[in-house]
Symmetry: C2
Subunit: 145 residues, 2 copies
DNA sequence: ACTAATGTCTCTAGCAACTATAGCTTCAAG
DNA sequence: CTTGAAGCTATAGTTGCTAGAGACATTAGT
């Protein structure tokens, strides 16, 4: 059995994050030692590693909650899990497209800055006037940030 | 002079967001009508459009705050504005690289799903075992999301 | 056995950048 | 003149944590 600190170290998750996951019901309530400290089994570690890995891949905690409950029912079809992964892939692809457009616009902006005074600065000017842009990147930043 | 609703419509910003920007000091306190409603000049509209555009490009409100204060001082060097834009470009490029790695991993995962039962599902399996991954995408999702 | 240094506990509050709700007042159109 | 839309304030919620305070537990060194 591992203490919360060891568990966190071995899964690469910070201690408060583990407690947070327990609080929101993503991890089951841990056993406690005689001194009221949390103790974790290997199974708990695997579950945490799963969460960690899915977070690394950009899945939301809600999606992970669904994936976990699916992984607890090995006999069901994996269509649902596949759908979640496909949705995540689509999300990532959409962000990629948006970010690529942003990158082009930012590059244009930065390249045009001749290093003079603010009043001549293309960075400021472009920000103030969307029509100076080459691509249509409206409503993009919020999705990307 | 525009009401807050007209201003929002013309700049593509929701009304509560405008009030929020005022609250955090990104927009100056608006004039008020006799009935205590906010009224905006064209100048305010330009400022809001600037903010909107910078948000679209992914700048944080803090960066925008800096850019706005720079744009109010037309005689200074634009080095600072350029630096902010360059930093944003670097951030976008870094996110692009991470997202590209994520996309590859997700594609691999989804492609391997043969559509059977959960217990055979590669999606679930890969999530549970990082060593099945081809790329090193650790600590990536959090930055991208 | 004692002490000091960690580690852990609970609880609360904070971060970005909004969004939503409630309950009220004001304005514009018919 | 009335009604419905738009505006007002204030508060709380969202996501996924992170930071802090103050108290108890455990472990390492002497």
């Amino acid at each position: 059995m591992l203490t919360i600190g060891k568990l966190g170290a071995s899964a690469g998750v910070k201690v408060p994050t583990i407690r947070y996951y327990e609080q929101i019901g993503l991890l089951p309530e841990a056993e406690r030692s005689s001194g009221n400290q949390r103790l974790y089994s290997r199974k708990a570690m695997e579950r945490l590693a799963f969460i960690r890995h899915a977070r690394d891949l950009g899945f939301t905690l809600e999606a992970i909650r669904d994936l976990l409950s699916l992984s607890d029912k090995p006999d069901q079809s994996c269509a649902a899990a596949d759908a979640i992964a496909q949705a995540q892939l689509a999300e990532v692809e959409s962000r990629l497209a948006r970010l690529t457009a942003l990158k082009a616009e930012l590059q244009r902006m930065v390249l045009q800055c001749a290093g003079g005074k603010i009043c001549d600065c293309r960075v400021i000017e472009v920000l103030g006037d969307h029509s100076l842009c080459s691509t249509d990147h409206r409503h993009v930043g919020e999705v990307v940030a």
